[in-house]
Every structure is written in structure tokens, then in C-alpha cells.
């Protein structure tokens, strides 16, 4: 069924194509915010047969995040055109007439993995790890160096905050999510929001594009250690780049079970390399603030998933599972608050 619908859609989008066929449609696990499907397409253009792998990202009935898919599509498209390793974006459909729900399609990057566990423990990737770590910093530095004004990002991300408003803007954003989605009292999260308001970081040294989910586990890497595609841009916004630095350091992404950032490199080494690559100083107070807020944000995202499940908007077991993760986030939040 989906094969036929996709073939019809591609035929519509590729008017010069003949005999469009779609095969190998399968759903990729993970992706708690949108359904992710992989498929192969073949068609004829003139006397040439074309084949291409695609990724479909379709809105679910409910998700962890209530983000706009067109923002994700447009920011990924802009990043791709600016030379950031991002899959090539192809089509955005805000209506549900083709596949029941809105979606977008991008080109698939083959021969890659996303799994952090494979990266840190599979012998096949042992030689690739140092390069992945270096590229992780270089790609983040490239994102933070993008000329967002020249790229016109404000036209769909909204106006950039002033340097002293970045932190407050994010506190308010995630506080509202907690207000909207919490199913029960949240003493740790609400106390943390009060704490954050009283411990604002220094103003951002510069305003940059913030990926807002940049971490080990959210990029495609190959066996040579090259990062081929940065994924999951749905929370991207303009703001303080230290937000991304702190997010990458969250305990939740310490996949090796120790203090290493993402399980792949020492935290101090990561911070030093980032400073070298960007010229942005990682102020310890700012890092601490954004790390605490990152944990609150993650807990808020989980609350959204829990509400979706409780209200019957979804039956995805991953949403139930992640909601069970908040006690560990609360523990980390209290540690960072020093209580």
C-alpha cells in the first residue's frame, strides 16, 4: 500500500520520470518524534534508468515534540546547501492527501550507522572512533559558524534573540512545555526552572544556529570515521552556541557508562577542541547552566511523550519507555543544582 502511494507521489514530483517503482519499504526503529521509513525507488528518464534510496519522515498521530516539519525541512536544506553534512532534502508535503499525514522526503545516505553502541564497542569501528570524535567537533564548529543572516534563517526560525535573552527564552519555552504536558506535580523540574532563572549565564558571545539535539547518536558515520549526515534538526533555533556544547555533554548521552562525552572522547578534550575550532570560550558557568537546562528540556520532552500515550494519541511503546527515564534525569538535575 505504502509502496504504491510513494510511487504515485514520486511520479507526481518527477514529471519527466517514467515507470516509477518503489520497493524495500521498511520502517526504521527509533525516531520518537516522527515515523522514519526507508525505501528504494527506480524510474526511467529518457533512455537512462535511475535508482535512488530515500528516507521518508512522516508526522505521527502524536510524538515527543510538537515541532513544525517545515522548519526541520528548511533548516536541513539550508545546512545542506551551506556544506554541512546533511542529507539532501527533496520534497516537503504539508498536506495529508498523499500519505494520510504530512511528511518530507530526503535522499538516503547508504553505508552508514547511527548507533552509539556500535561506535563505542564494535571492533569494526575501533579505528574510526578518533576521527568521528574530531569530526564531531569540526561539524559542530561549522554549524556554529554558518552565516545565518546570509542564509535567511530568520525567515523561518523567527527573529534571533539578543545575547542576554537566549537563556531566558529557552527557560520559558521548556517551562511552557512542562506546564502543558505534566500529568502530575514535578517538584524537581519546577524547582530547577526557578533555580535557572536565578542563575542566568553570561550573555551569549555570539548568536548562532543552534542544532539543539547535537549528540552522539544523531549523526550518520561510516567505517572511515567520517560524519556523513547530521540528523534530527527539528528543535533548531537561533541562540547561544554553548547550548549545543552542553547538550552534547549530557549524562544521558554518556553511552559508555562513564564521564566521556558521548562515550567517545574526554569532556575536557571536547571543550578544548571546540574552543580551538570556533574561538568561542566555553564559560564554565554557562556550560553548567545549559547542562542543567538541557536535562530539564529532556525531561520535558519525555513528559510530552507520556501525555501523548496517556491520552491515547499514540501506542508507541518507546514513548512509554522514555517516560520512565525521568527519575534519572531528576537525579542529575539535583546533582547539578548542588542539592
Amino acid at each position: 500500500m505504502l509502496e504504491e502511494e510513494l510511487a504515485r507521489y514520486l511520479a507526481h514530483r518527477l514529471p519527466s520520470a517514467r515507470q516509477v517503482t518503489v520497493s524495500n519499504v521498511f520502517r526504521i526503529p527509533g525516531g520518537a518524534s516522527r515515523e522514519t521509513w526507508s525505501f528504494d525507488a527506480r524510474w526511467w528518464e529518457g533512455d537512462r534508468e535511475v535508482s535512488q534510496g530515500f528516507i521518508l519522515r512522516r508526522d505521527p498521530p502524536a510524538s515527543l515534540l510538537t515541532t513544525e516539519r517545515d522548519i526541520e525541512f528548511q533548516v536541513m536544506n539550508a545546512a545542506h546547501l551551506a556544506g554541512i553534512p546533511v542529507p539532501r532534502m527533496r520534497w516537503l508535503e504539508p498536506e495529508g492527501k498523499w500519505l494520510q499525514r504530512p511528511f518530507f522526503i530526503m535522499e538516503r545516505i547508504d553505508g552508514c550507522e547511527t548507533s552509539p553502541q556500535l561506535l563505542i564497542s564494535d571492533p569494526r569501528f575501533e579505528g574510526a572512533r578518533p576521527r568521528v570524535a574530531r569530526r564531531f567537533v569540526e561539524v559542530l564548529a561549522a554549524i556554529h559558524s554558518l552565516d545565518w543572516k546570509a542564509l535567511g534563517l530568520e525567515s523561518f526560525l523567527g527573529p534571533a534573540p539578543s545575547p542576554d535573552q537566549c537563556a531566558l527564552q529557552e527557560i520559558e519555552k521548556w517551562g511552557q512545555v512542562i506546564d502543558r504536558d505534566a500529568l502530575e506535580p514535578q517538584p524537581v523540574l519546577r524547582a530547577a526552572l526557578c533555580w535557572l532563572r536565578r542563575h542566568l549565564p553570561p550573555p551569549a558571545q555570539r548568536i548562532t544556529l543552534v542544532h539543539a539535539d547535537y549528540r552522539v547518536g544523531n549523526f550518520l558515520y561510516d567505517q572511515e570515521g567520517e560524519i556523513r549526515g547530521v540528523l534530527d534538526w527539528e528543535m533548531a533555533h537561533l541562540g547561544d552556541p554553548i547550548e549545543d556544547v552542553a547538550w552534547a555533554c549530557l549524562q544521558s548521552w554518556c553511552w559508555a557508562g562513564d564521564e566521556r562525552m558521548g562515550g567517545i572522547m574526554g569532556r575536557d578534550e571536547f571543550l578544548h577542541m571546540y574552543e580551538e575550532a570556533t574561538g568561542i570560550r566555553v564559560d564554565p558557568q554557562a556550560l553548567h547552566f545549559w547542562e542543567l537546562l538541557g536535562n530539564v528540556k529532556l525531561a520535558a520532552i519525555f513528559l510530552t511523550g507520556a501525555r501523548s500515550l496517556a491520552e491515547g494519541k499514540t501506542r508507541e511503546p518507546i514513548l512509554a519507555m522514555v517516560a520512565r527515564g525521568n527519575p534519572r534525569l531528576e537525579l542529575e538535575i539535583m546533582r547539578l543544582m548542588g542539592v
Binding site: 521498511f26 517538584p187 524547582a191 526557578c194 562513564d258 527519575p327 531528576e330 539535583m334
Partner: protein
Amino acid sequence: MELVRLLESVVLELGQEVPSLYGKAQAQFAFMLLETVAAELDEAVHCLYHDIQELRGLLAQVQEAIARIPQDHPRIASLQQRLEEALNEEIGHDLHLHRLEGLHRRLMGALEVFLCLCEEVMGDPRYEPLMPLRAAAYAHLRRVAVRGWTFWDALSFRERILKEREALAHKP
């Protein structure tokens, strides 16, 4: 409990039969959820009962302490009202989970307002009587949070959770 174990074995069997990667992942998530339920079900009433008793003791002290601080902070009135509502209800002999959960929720609601107040007045000497209770409140929440870890221990936080448990075991 037997029913949960039965469901686990059904999910495992189905997971092996499902051909797609997505289906296998779903079965795995469902199994982990059931494992969490199995781990928590047996102690649910016991834990809630214990938490309620501890919270009632703590919030009764908060109620006394707020009589000794300035009454002009905008959160005070809301805190007093929530404390009255939560503490008026005795734990009693009805140990149905939904009732205990309701009672616990009201106590946690009062605790939420109390901690927000504490964070907003931190450093102001007029509110000093609240600070030992703030520390006690966070200690309670830490104990509850550590208990809440189940399958997460097996995923990526082994070292830290072991440290946390060890530290808590050595605290009076």
C-alpha cells in the same frame, strides 16, 4: 505478577517471529516496559505508603516553619492552601493504588510549591527557617529517584547509579 511474566514471554516469542527490524524493536521496548512493571509492581503499595508517610512528616514541619517567615511572598498563600488540602487527608486503611496515588499527588503538589519558594528566596536570611526542610525535601526526592531506576541501569548509567546507591547507603 504471573500475568506480567506471561505477557513477557508472549512478547519475546512474538518478537522472534516478527520479520521486520521495526517490529523487533517494538517487541524489545514492550518487553523492557513489562520488565519495569514487574520490578515495580510488587513494591508499589509499600513504596507509595512509605513515601506518603515521609512527605506528611516533612510537610507538617513546613507548615510550622512558614508561620515563622514573612508572609508577603506571593507563593505563601498558595502553599498554605495546598498544605492544608494535602495534610487534612489521613492515610487510613484503604490501600488501593489509585487512592494512594491521589494522596501522594496532592502531597507532591504542595512540595512543588514549597521548593519553588525555597529556590526563589534562597540567600534571603528572613527565610532561613525553610532551608533545613529544603535539604530534607531534596533528600527525599533523591531517594525516590534512585529507586525509580530499573532497566536504565542496564543501559548506560551503571557506574553513576552504583555510586549514587553507594553514597545513599552510607548516609544516615
